[in-house]
């Protein structure tokens, strides 16, 4: 599965795109896509949303969590810095 993420223009915070085009900090609320092709129309719409977000892109999902090769990076974007926590924190799927 895939979802669309970006950083909010005003404060840079991590957001995900819902099916109605609204941006949310909750990955659970994000619209899911079966593959890149299915996500293309929504991603193109997100790229035009320049007054709300910066640099939208697709991420891979593994169930409810970020997956794929960038799973550590996207887990940190979702949950915040892991400083002061277990070294394995962000790597846990």
């Amino acid at each position: 599965m895939r979802a669309i993420t970006a950083n909010r223009l005003t404060d840079g915070h991590v957001v995900y795109r819902r099916a109605d085009g609204i941006w949310t900090p909750s990955l659970i609320e994000a619209e899911r896509f079966g593959d890149e092709k299915a996500a293309e129309p929504a991603l193109n719409a997100a790229l035009r949303d320049i007054l709300t977000v910066v640099a939208p892109y697709l991420i891979e999902l593994d169930g409810e969590q970020p997956g794929g090769r960038k799973h550590v990076r996207e887990a940190i974007r979702l949950k915040g810095p892991t400083t002061g926590t277990s070294l394995l924190y962000a790597g846990e799927r």
């Binding site: 404060d11 550590v72 990076r73 940190i76 002061g84």
Partner: protein, 543 residues
């Protein structure tokens, strides 16, 4: 400290207003992100993983109590209550909102600070010895020359769009606490046979993907010729540096491609054209700038003593000798056990400002080791300074020990990083301290970078860790033998990559080998040269 004149003040204030308009244009849609990005970067504003990051320049790592209080205020009101002091002697805020940044810059401008040239392919903030003007071993205070370079390089039209970013470091002592060997240009103040002071000039050093130690271009350059010679180096680089490949665009690649001899010849030829013209430093201007950096007055009082718990150890480890009687250099470690290296809360910044003002002359330094320094402390007040630091959670007695670990922000914050560095440093710090491995490790350096850009300076660490992405997992390469100071050297990879937990154990094992094997008075480098890599390999990887 240097104080702005009317020109400094107006260019910084005008820049704030210009950026305020640019932010407004981006928020209204008049500027696209592609148009806005280079503009925000020119004002130190990056977009990182979770938020915007604002990098504020601290010129040659020197600030005063008034400025530190404003940094604390920004951390408290516009961020999450803390800031991160960097290996480039600057400060970064990890969470400012874009809409607030013009206001932040305005408050910085009020105390003669800014974020100009903290990004982009320009001449960045010049760095220097954090003990400048206080060190017993220095030939001359390098700060006036850093200030001259700051004035010359700020908005220099010829050097605003270089092939890549450009970093200059200056040291006033042979010990080289500025790591001039790994900068694009490294300057060392030296005396010639006639007893005149000038610069030994190095160029072509750097870390990152292709680490190189700088080559020496000149044994001696008269001080008044500094800007002519710097211009000559910059002009050769600007004309011949490779612009079509970001990985080959730094001056170190140009020096290597041309060869040190040919590069030096080109620079010298350019210098001959430039010397004696408008770029000669007027003696009166040099004297004017130097007058802002007076030597602190001696203090005719005995050093303070205390039987407070921890004072004697802190005094022995974190306090360094000062060139002026009655004063001392106090290093404030920002590396508590399992802490985030280089982070300081707003309250801690305020505490340091208070102590510097109350018990010294108000001056504060930032080190490339991500610590703070009160350079001109009154030695009679050391017990009071210690007590104030203890109350602020800043009395960790580990300056220069193994647990004084340097890290970049890594994958917890940085959009370029491939792996985390702060959590590794935190686990390692706890392991070293809890196991007693930190004891007697003065000048053993451990540095961690979360990607090949090497902001954590792992290449020049005695023991370095580089985080890489291996098929989606964080893996760390362990290097040994790097040296940052006099006789700079690049570390060599010890063996196969390690998981985060393995990396912590591996570094602890290497510290253990060093403590076990070192001879009297040996540094890590000496021991490594004598016993070789094998004992370390065996400790990390087994037979």
């Amino acid at each position: 400290m240097y104080r702005y004149d009317e020109i400094d003040r107006s260019i910084v204030t005008e820049r704030v207003e210009e950026f305020r308009e640019q932010v407004g244009a981006r928020l209204s849609g008049a500027l696209s992100e592609d148009q806005f990005k280079p503009l925000r970067l020119m004002n130190g504003v990056y977009l990182q993983l979770h938020a915007y990051m604002l990098r504020v320049a601290i010129p040659y790592g020197t600030l005063d109590a008034r400025q530190m209080r404003v940094l604390a205020h920004i951390a408290r009101h516009y961020d999450k209550g803390y800031g991160h002091f960097t290996t480039r002697q600057n400060i970064q805020y990890n969470w400012p909102a874009l809409v607030d940044i013009p206001e932040i810059l305005e408050q910085l401008a009020d105390v003669e600070m800014h974020a100009i040239q903290t990004s982009g392919n320009c001449i960045r903030n010049t760095t220097t010895d954090p003990f400048a003007g206080a060190a017993q071993d220095e030939v001359e205070d390098p700060r006036p020359w850093c200030e001259l370079i700051r004035q010359w390089s700020t908005f220099h039209p010829e050097f605003t769009f270089l092939p890549r970013k450009f970093k200059i470091a200056v040291t006033g002592s042979d010990a080289d606490r500025a790591a001039i060997g790994v900068h694009d240009i490294g300057l060392k103040l030296v005396k010639n046979e006639a007893g005149e002071t000038g610069f030994e000039v190095h160029a072509g050093g750097g870390q990152g993907r292709t680490p190189r130690v700088a080559v020496k271009l000149r044994d001696f350059l008269p001080k008044g010729e500094l800007l002519a010679y710097l211009t000559a180096i910059m002009r050769v680089y600007n004309l011949a540096g490779q612009r079509d490949n970001i990985y080959k665009a730094r001056i170190k690649i140009l020096v290597e491609t041309m060869g040190a001899q040919a590069f030096t010849a080109e620079v010298e030829a350019m210098y001959r054209q430039l010397r004696g013209r408008d770029l000669a430093v007027p003696a009166e201007e040099a004297a004017r700038i130097t007058s802002f950096f007076p030597e602190p007055s001696p203090v005719d009082r005995p050093e303070g003593v205390s039987d407070a718990p921890g004072f004697a150890r802190w005094r022995a480890i974190n306090v360094k000798p000062h060139k002026v009687p009655g004063r001392a250099i106090v290093v404030i470690s920002l590396k508590p056990r399992a802490g985030s290296p280089g982070d300081a809360t707003a309250e801690q910044m305020d505490a340091v400002a208070f102590l510097a003002e109350r018990y010294a002359d108000g001056e504060i330094r930032v080190t490339k080791e991500q610590n703070l320094v009160i350079p001109h402390a009154v030695a009679a007040h050391l017990p009071a300074i210690y007590e104030g630091l203890r109350e602020a959670g800043l009395s960790t007695a580990n300056a220069g020990l193994a647990s004084d670990i340097v890290t970049c922000p890594g994958l917890d914050y940085c959009s370029l990083a491939n792996a985390r560095s702060i959590p590794v440093a935190q686990a390692l710090s706890a392991a070293l301290i809890d196991r007693g491995l930190d004891e007697d490790t003065q000048d053993l350096t451990i540095k961690i970078s979360g990607c090949i850009n090497a902001c954590g300076h792992h290449h020049i660490a005695n023991i370095g860790l580089l985080g890489v992405d291996k098929k989606g997992d964080e893996v760390y390469q362990l290097t040994l033998g790097g040296v940052a100071d006099n006789g700079a050297a690049i570390g060599k990879i010890l063996g196969p990559g390690l998981t985060p937990d393995e990396a912590v154990e591996a570094v602890a094992a290497c510290v253990g080998v060093f403590r076990r094997e070192r001879g009297d008075g040996e540094t890590f480098t000496h021991t490594l040269a004598r016993i070789g890599f094998e004992p370390f390999k065996e400790a990390v990887y087994g037979q």
